[in-house]
């Protein structure tokens, strides 16, 4: 279980990007943060495991995972946590890999049980591992790279999965596949997932709870049904209204 209490994230000690981000990710559930382009969604999720460059960003607050503050554990432990417990699938999937290493490098490094690989690759409609391992990241398409990232994350059996814009720039069928597998993931053990996206249809289908990020402020997490009739803020209303006008 993860409890986030971030007071403030500032850039260059001047500009405040986010403030008062408080929430607790519940187990066996999927939480989604919606927001406009540039509202700070990606900054928020990167801050959770200290991925923001400390020379540029200052993060005040705490993120507690199973009672331990991630911001104050030593570096070795943090690396281990990023490897085992909290896994990300980033938006820019191709560039999540080092282009000079074949994909084998990542599978060798991260996967504990090699027997699981092929079944999961098949589930994600990817080529067999014997073929895939020889490829360089620039030899696969963006959609494939994103699926490979997802597979790698799942093979680490994390407790928490964090996804940045899982449906952007991806074929509809693959987005549907992500939806199905994520729901399954959230049911297993004590797992939970946190997504940021601006795909409202996806959010509605997948989320247990939804919050809205705008002007550096995160709303509370509403239940799924509650969110789509929320009138608490002007910006959220505009956002929901725009969605209605283009998709109904």
């Amino acid at each position: 279980m993860i409890k986030v209490a971030i007071k403030e994230i500032t850039l260059n000690k001047k500009r405040t990007l986010l403030s008062n981000v408080d929430f607790e990710l519940e187990k066996n559930s999927i939480f989604t943060i919606l927001g406009l382009n540039g509202s700070g969604k990606s900054t928020l999720i990167k801050s959770l495991t200290g991925l923001l460059n400390p020379r540029l960003y200052e993060v005040n607050g705490s993120v507690n995972l199973d009672g331990k503050n991630i911001f104050s554990i030593d570096y070795e432990e943090l690396l281990q946590l990023r490897k085992d417990k909290i896994k990300y699938v980033f938006q820019d999937a191709v560039n999540s890999f080092d282009h000079l290493k074949t994909l084998q490098y990542y599978f060798e490094k991260l996967v504990k049980d090699k027997n699981e690989i092929d079944a999961l690759l098949e589930y994600f409609l990817l080529p067999k591992y014997t073929e895939l391992q020889k490829l360089y990241p620039y030899e696969v398409s963006g959609g494939m790279a994103q699926r490979i990232n997802f597979v790698l994350a799942l093979l680490c059996h994390p407790q928490i999965l964090i996804l940045d814009e899982p449906t952007s720039g991806i074929d509809l069928a693959i987005s549907n596949l992500f939806l199905l597998r994520l729901k399954e993931f959230a049911k297993e053990k004590d797992n939970s997932a946190l997504l940021v996206t601006h795909d409202l249809v996806f959010a509605k289908k997948i989320s247990n709870k939804i919050a809205f990020l705008s002007n550096g402020k995160l709303s509370r997490f509403y239940s799924n049904e509650e969110f789509f009739s929320a009138h608490d803020s002007k910006t959220l209303e505009l956002f929901l209204n725009a969605h209605k006008q283009i998709s109904l």
Binding site: L172, A173, S175, N176, I206, A242, Q245, S247
Partner: protein, 267 residues
Amino acid sequence: MNELLIAENICYKVEQAGTFQIKKTEKEILKDVSFKLEKGKILGIAGESGSGKTTLAKIISGVVQYSSGKIIFNKSGEWEKIKTSPVQILFQNNGEILNPLRRINDIVEEAIVLRYGNKIDVQKEKEKIFGSLNFPGQLWERKGFELSGGEQQRAALARILAVKPELLILDEPFSAQDPESQLNLLNLFKNINEEFGIAMICIAHNLKILQKLCGNILIMYKGEIVEQGKSEKIFNTPEHPYTKFLLKAESYNLTYQELSFDAANAD
């Protein structure tokens, strides 16, 4: 004649080098694509990646030469006299068509002068173009790199409108945009279409948004048009299994068994 563009049986093939470059195989990217676009109308093209949407756009604009078939373009007005293409494309990465170090004002002014010479009131034309795009005066003097993504997109559109094309092709303008930006763009395109009477072809993988913009829609699958017709009809009573698949997929209602669409086994 009311048709601006008639495409008849367009085919596009590429040669793929086989093992050791000896065996060459032909791959058909587009197969027998036929459709019509009336003057001043908006046509939508939907389909997943790899269906040939962007290739078709490139063929229509003359960037890519097709293998066989016929494209008839009924140029009107001033376009009849000049050789240059009356088609403009707004690409996905629209920021890159702007010179980042030039003022938007200069870019657009130059385009107007190149197109019309001194036969036109440049200032008035500029105001009309920027006005229709909601591009405020204080941004005219900015340079490309000083603008946000959305502003760059509108500046790129201003550059395109300056040459008054007869056909504007929009390649995935809505992807990776949040709902508010999508709505703004949708209204912007409708506005351009009404105010300047420019015909448009809009490529997107989202059928819902195409239905809001376009009178007619083509559905493409693996280089072929599998269904075409009025957008309400396609949306409300789709006939081809692939169209049904697309609609179900964009509502995120596919089951795992339905994920890989197979035309042969569908229905």
